[in-house]
């Protein structure tokens, strides 16, 4: 079983090497934008935070942690990577095993948000390799010094590129940039909006394009509660004519998918995901959500629960 220090040190080591907690190379984050010819320095950027692109890697990483938890190795002072390789499960090789197809789905989600914005009349730039991970996981774990250092670096990159307005695409990065950075950075002056606040449903979504399709909906907890945006995703789905079957726990009383503790306690996290998936499955075979962490979690248990999960960015057109 892994101690908290093992997990923290692994995440911090990864961050030191790559500026993100799962140790991904910059190219994995920027691949989605190739060939899109996004305009440079419009003053408004799309900030991906890298989370959607990370989904297949998070799944490989957490699967590794979970296997390690069941094994006898680990314990105080043990570094996770070393431990992983000692049972023949090296994360870098698990990453290498991911196919282009595994990554394509999640990269396409990022492409789709840019299209939705464009159809809403919003042109965005992208910082490419200068876009850094927000550091939010370190905040969640109470490793505030890493989070604060990262926040300042993210902000200075924005400043370097003359960014004034930031459009975010996942709840976790949005909470960081919108609610937490202003507490850390003096004179923080960025205008931060989640894409659901910006997208114009009537202009961006083809009317009745999902007519005849029934979904249930999983409100990501940060989106619904910290950001208060549970109405917006419903507006897009309504424009598309989708039928929505609300689960018992929804909107601002939604039930977390378990994702935030996937690193420190993967087995507890997994049981919460399964419990929530079962609740959603009672309403429909497919659940729509709007968060890469929820998406990663639910896709990991898909075979077990039979619940198919799709990000809203995969269905509205």
């Amino acid at each position: 079983m892994l101690d908290r220090k093992d997990v923290f040190n692994t995440l911090i080591d990864n961050w030191k090497k790559t500026t993100n907690p799962v140790g991904l190379k910059a190219a994995e984050f920027t691949a989605w934008s190739e060939g899109l010819n996004l305009p440079a320095d419009t003053g408004t950027i799309i900030y991906t935070g890298g989370l959607y692109q990370m989904v297949p890697f998070i799944n490989a990483f957490v699967a590794g942690l979970d296997r390690l938890e069941s094994s006898s190795v680990g314990g105080a002072g043990f570094r996770v990577f070393r431990a992983l390789s000692s049972i023949g499960l090296d994360v870098s090789s698990a990453y290498a095993a991911l196919t282009a197809g595994d990554k394509k789905r999640f990269n396409q989600i990022v492409v789709n948000v840019v299209s939705l914005l464009k159809r809403s009349g919003v042109e965005v730039s992208y910082l490419g390799v200068d876009e850094l991970y927000s550091g939010i996981l370190f905040h969640d774990m109470g490793i505030d010094w890493v989070f604060e250092e990262q926040a300042r670096e993210v902000y200075s990159r924005f400043k370097k590129h003359g960014v004034r307005k930031v459009i975010t695409m996942d709840p976790h990065s949005t909470v960081a940039l919108k609610l937490l950075y202003p507490e850390i950075i003096q004179g923080y002056d960025l205008d931060v909006h989640h894409y659901l606040e910006v997208v114009d449903a009537a202009a961006a979504v083809t009317k009745d394009s999902l007519k005849g399709q029934k979904f249930t909906i999983h409100d990501p907890c940060l989106l619904a509660r910290k950001l208060g945006l549970w109405k917006n995703s419903r507006a897009l789905l309504a424009q598309a004519g989708a039928e929505i079957a609300e689960p018992v726990r929804s909107r601002n009383f939604t039930f977390c998918c378990g994702g935030p503790i996937e690193n420190i306690a993967p087995k507890v996290s997994n049981d919460i995901t399964i419990k929530r998936a079962a609740e959603l499955k009672q309403m429909a075979d497919t659940a729509i959500l709007a968060c890469p962490i929820c998406l990663a979690n639910f896709t990991r248990v898909e075979a077990k629960t039979g619940l198919r999960t799709l990000d809203i960015l995969e269905v509205v057109r």
Binding site: G75, M141, L222, R249, G259, V268
Partner: protein, 402 residues
């Protein structure tokens, strides 16, 4: 007894093991589902919405004046002929109550989280008393030798099948798990004898008025009424944060606790301002009359005043309805295992830090999702997840020596 804080790995091991406890998970799941229904009945009621606003401002004021208010309540009680005692520590509280009770007595108790916090039942039993919990949920966990799973529903983790099992063992006959009335009737019959023979009744406090010392409790079972009035001596034990300025404030606070604790219509709200008495002869007060002959009130600090100086002051506004626990995803799979020696899940982690020291709560905080379900439902708007993160941050910083 000093309980050493558990290590993170100890807690994680317990958390992993609890995932496999099917009866516990069944009980918690059923309880959480029932709560959704009862909460739906109160959440938009205009009187409840108004009450929420009023009680929030009452509790906001309380934390600013806690020391002044509890002193005022104690003076008011004394002036009304009710001996009152301040207990700074757990041991002080145990000593005070134990001295009043003595040995060889039959003692009945109603549910009180503070009495769990100080370990009162065991302490009195060890000193040769027969002690019985009169709240059905609390009796079930007394039978099972467990800590409460929840502030309002101590036996939330015990599904009906497991209640039938423990009753069979204790009452010597079989019960149909689906015949809930039969099980409740058996407890009633058993407890009625204890209540009638008890020399001491120990009760808790939902709120107490600083102005005149009136104690308010809210319940459905009537066991608080019986426990406080049938035995000759009534000892009341509560935390100092329960003191509110007036009796009306106390009634409001207790009612809101009832509504949020899963009772859309609480059956009984009790106001008690001393042992029983009568003014029926010449309008002159004579004590006792039909109820208890004497009443004592013990107000317990046990870390509360110290917590006022930390970010945890926020949690001292808690009215202990336990709604936050009933919407918590981690609690839904791990139940009472996710908790300290007394308090479980959500705001229970903060109460663990207040009453047992921050170190006792440290390892528990890493299982919080920071999903804010607790904050969303809290009727007095305590920043529960933010405070849990504060504890986690302190613990992580110490761990990583940063």
């Amino acid at each position: 007894m000093i309980i050493l804080p558990k290590s993170f790995l100890d807690v994680k091991k317990e958390m992993y093991e609890a995932l496999g406890d099917k009866p516990m998970r069944t009980g918690i799941a059923r309880g959480m589902d029932s709560f959704v229904k009862s909460y739906d009945k109160v959440k938009d009621r205009s009187d409840v919405v108004q009450l929420r606003t009023e009680v929030k401002s009452i509790k906001d004021e309380d934390v600013k004046r806690m020391e002044e208010l509890y002193r005022q309540a104690m003076e008011a009680l004394q002036a009304n002929g009710v001996p009152s005692y301040y207990a700074n520590t757990k041991q002080d509280a145990l000593d005070i109550v134990s001295k009043l009770v003595g040995a060889g007595k039959v003692v009945v108790k109603s549910k009180s989280m503070v009495s769990e916090e100080i370990g009162l039942r065991h302490y009195l039993q060890e000193r040769g008393n027969e002690v019985w919990e009169t709240d059905l949920g609390e009796l079930i966990i007394q039978f099972r030798g467990e800590k409460p799973a929840h502030m309002i529903s101590p036996a939330l983790h015990v599904p009906r099948e497991a209640v039938a099992e423990i009753f069979k063992e204790k009452f010597g006959r079989t019960f149909d798990p689906n015949d809930l009335p039969a099980m409740v009737a058996a407890a009633r019959e058993f407890l009625r004898t204890k209540l009638l023979n008890a020399q001491v009744g120990i009760t808790g406090i939902n709120a107490i008025s600083a102005a005149d010392g009136t104690i308010v409790t809210v319940e459905n079972e009537a066991n608080v009424r019986l426990t406080s009035s049938l035995p000759p001596m009534n000892i009341v034990v509560g935390g100092i944060e329960k003191v509110v300025p007036s009796t009306l404030d106390a009634v409001k606070t207790a009612l809101l606790q009832g509504y949020y604790g899963g009772s859309p219509i609480p059956t009984y709200v009790n106001l008690s301002a001393g042992p029983s008495g009568t003014r029926d002869i010449e309008k002159t007060m004579v004590r006792p009359a039909q109820g208890s002959k004497e009443m004592h009130v013990v107000l317990v600090n046990n870390g509360r005043l110290e917590a006022l100086k930390t970010p945890l002051w926020d949690a001292l506004r808690c009215i202990r309805c336990g709604a936050c626990q009933l919407v918590c995803p981690t609690y839904s799979v791990d139940g009472p295992t996710w908790g300290g020696p007394t308090y479980t899940a959500a705001v229970g982690l903060l109460w663990t830090a207040i009453t047992e020291g921050r170190e006792a709560a440290d390892p528990l905080t890493y299982f919080c999702l920071e999903c804010d379900a607790c904050n969303e439902i809290c009727p007095v708007q305590i920043n529960i997840s933010g405070n849990i993160r504060w504890i986690k941050k302190e613990a992580t910083t110490e761990l990583l020596n940063k």
